[in-house]
């Protein structure tokens, strides 16, 4: 056995780089239109930060669809719940939030984000068991069930916290901007970009470099075969659903801090944005979702700067343009 030659390396799958270049091309093409370099940098950083936050919220949705073929119309509920739970930590500890010390600020932000993720993840467990387990494989019922779940969650938030908007100020040391020359870069946006990158790389690492990731990818390709090999794929999917919900909770917390307010309707509003991103990226593709989020944020920021009226429908126009080019999104997942 040992003298067998190493098998020929499998031919590498062709890399499809065009979508990756799309945000870069878009950013560069916008530079002459915007004119001043400093506003271009500010806008680009703003879009990157916004895109990363949208990605964090959308990644769970696309993962869950890709792996379980479940489209969760109630995904926005996890986002809103995450934001509300974060206020439970951030508002009582307002003293620490106001303190002008990065250490104290992070000491309150980290538990807030972790608690938001934990509660959203736990809610994901309940939702998967109660709402989705009964309707695996039936798209129509999934949509109806999860839409119902979204209504109930939103109304429950209203009942528990009241209909008013809760202001959520940014921690003191994350306010303001770094000024380099005449370019201003908001500190919180840098943090958002950092967290977004970590999440993206983390998901990619887990999916491509670990055994669990291997099983998940195998399950996407052929779930019966994975089950036949003795793995309990249901449990794997439940885990993925919980992680997806937890990420939505994290994204909701970050979005609430970005907007500096929390409201029960945010889940509903963000659902639409997240859907557009997931459609653009190709249902089920993490890489596509990442690029889609960046594109949506760029179009929103550049469009808002150049033609403010256009910003209202820019997302739809972007989606139409992408779907004309690739009807199943940037990266279509082959098994679907």
């Amino acid at each position: 056995m040992t003298d067998l030659a190493a098998p020929e390396a499998l031919p590498k799958p062709k890399r499809d780089l065009l979508p990756v270049l799309l945000p870069v091309i878009l950013a560069l093409a916008m530079a002459p239109l915007i004119g001043s370099a400093s506003s271009w940098v500010t806008l680009t950083v703003a879009s990157l930060a916004m895109g990363m936050m949208i990605f964090i919220m959308a990644s769970g949705l696309t993962l869950v669809f890709g792996l379980m073929d479940v489209l969760n119309f109630g995904h926005g509920a996890f986002i809103a719940v995450g934001a509300y739970v974060a206020t439970l930590v951030l508002l009582p500890l307002a003293g620490w939030v106001q303190a002008d010390s990065l250490l104290l600020n992070l000491a309150v932000l980290a538990p807030a984000a972790l608690l938001a993720m934990a509660v959203s993840g736990a809610l994901g467990l309940v939702v998967e068991r109660v709402l989705i387990l009964a309707v695996y494989g039936q798209h129509l019922k999934q949509i109806l069930m999860t839409t119902g779940g979204l209504i109930v969650a939103e109304q429950a938030l209203y009942a528990l916290w009241g209909p008013q908007i809760i202001p959520l100020p940014l921690p003191t040391s994350l306010r303001g901007s770094f000024i380099i020359g005449d370019i201003a870069i908001a500190k919180y946006r840098l943090l958002a970009m950092l967290v977004g990158l970590v999440v993206f790389l983390g998901i990619q690492l887990v999916l491509n470099r670990t055994k669990i990731g291997l099983l998940i990818r195998a399950g996407v390709e052929n779930r019966e075969m994975v089950e036949a090999l003795g793995y309990r794929i249901r449990r794997l999917f439940l885990g993925v659903f919980m992680v997806g919900s937890a990420l939505a909770g994290l994204g909701g917390t970050m979005w609430a801090l970005y907007r500096e307010q929390v409201h029960a309707s945010m889940g509903n509003d963000l659902t639409v944005l997240v859907f557009i991103v997931v459609i653009i990226g190709g249902l089920g593709s993490i890489g596509g979702c990442f690029i889609g989020a960046l594109l949506v944020a760029m179009v929103a920021n550049y469009g808002g700067f150049l033609v403010p009226k256009l910003a209202l429908v820019s997302n739809i126009l972007l989606m139409v343009a992408i779907l004309m080019w690739r009807p199943r999104g940037l990266y279509a997942v082959t098994s679907r």
Partner: protein, 357 residues
């Protein structure tokens, strides 16, 4: 049987219920001429037609659309803007219809060609995105739509409440322009529902059901599924826009809250599911039950909420507050999808098929 297109209710209880609802709607202006009762009855008529058109999509083709209120809103706004800018005349009503209905159909065609090619789930997401963009547009283009305030307008002379057609002393009840408007709404809604019943029982309707059951197989049999689905989508949009036009005529107003908001979409979904998907009769039953509950149960909820507050119970007053009515509807919705996927009509028909047990 001709008028029902050979698709009778097929359950005695259901037939009786339908007769009661229709008879009650027909005599409402004579028996309960009060403003609230008239409003409730009109809303039932309009929503029965709207929900029936949604049933054509959800129940017969199995595709979930979240853009149905958009078409409903297009119909409302077309009438409102035409009557607002051209003054109260029949020509303005005709112009509104002539612009609104084709616009709705064209938009439905665009969405359909774009998203029905791929998957049902795609269609649901894209309609949601388009509808939310439309809602934003309608509330931002205030020079055209009046923004958040919407547009109020005057009706043509004949339909105004002040116009007395038959004075009270002749038959014992007065017939004024308002009554006439009500009967226009009632007859138009009935015509639309009967028309839809005809559509779903035609060979075209059979193909839609075949697509719902197994799209791949329908395609293999040689049917162009995209064509059929898009056609159904346009038909549903046309009916929805007409229902919207009726709504605007009744309210003398069109605004984002009454004709476009997401909560109307949820109401429609609830009515279809509670009434029974894929039955058409479910639309009438669902709309009647839902709207009666919406108008009269909320009073009950506020009583319960106040009682709970007086008793000093925690949390319950908030949960029972009339504004939280959607919370309970959502729970009801989940429960009915879970336990009664065929809705009231499906239940009644199943009961009629095997009466002995």
């Amino acid at each position: 049987m001709m008028i029902l297109s050979g698709d009778p209710p097929r359950s005695r209880v259901l037939s009786i219920l339908l007769v009661i609802i229709i008879a009650a709607l027909a005599v409402t202006p004579l028996v309960f001429p009060g403003a609230k009762a008239m409003n409730v009855a009109t809303k039932i008529c309009i929503f029965a037609a709207l929900v029936a058109s949604y049933d054509l999509l959800l129940g017969y083709t199995g595709s979930v659309s979240f853009a149905h209120t958009m078409f409903y809103g297009i119909g409302s706004y077309a009438i409102a803007i035409a009557l607002y800018s051209m003054g109260p005349s029949w020509a303005a009503v005709a112009t509104g219809l002539a612009i609104g209905l084709p616009l709705a159909a064209l938009l439905a065609l665009g969405i359909g060609l774009f998203s029905l090619r791929v998957e049902a789930i795609f269609f649901a997401m894209i309609t949601l995105a388009v509808a939310s963009a439309f809602l934003v547009l309608a509330s931002q283009l205030s020079w055209l739509t009046g923004g958040e305030d919407g547009r109020s307008f005057q009706l043509p002379e004949l339909l105004r409440p002040g116009t007395v057609l038959i004075s009270k002393d002749l038959f014992g009840f007065a017939v004024n322009g308002r009554t006439l408007t009500y009967y226009i709404v009632l007859v138009a809604a009935a015509a639309m529902i009967l028309g839809l019943l005809r559509v779903v029982n035609s060979p075209f309707g059979r193909v839609l059901q075949a697509i719902r059951e197994n799209r791949f197989r329908a395609e293999a049999l040689g049917y162009r599924t995209v064509f059929h689905l898009t056609y159904a989508n346009c038909l549903a949009a046309l009916v929805a826009a007409s229902a919207g036009a009726l709504n605007a005529l009744w309210l003398r107003y069109a605004g984002p809250d009454t004709s476009l908001s997401f909560s109307i979409m949820l109401d429609i979904l609830l009515m279809v599911v509670i009434g029974g998907m894929g039955t058409m009769y479910g639309a009438i039953i669902g709309a009647a039950i839902f709207i009666l509950a919406q108008n009269y149960l909320q009073t009950l909820m506020s009583v319960a909420s106040n009682a709970a507050a007086d008793a000093g119970l925690p949390l319950l007053p908030g949960l029972l507050h009339p504004d939280r009515w959607l919370l309970w509807l959502g729970l009801l919705f989940i429960a009915s999808v879970y336990f009664f996927p065929t809705g009231i009509v499906g239940r009644l028909r199943a009961g009629a098929r095997r009466p002995l047990r």
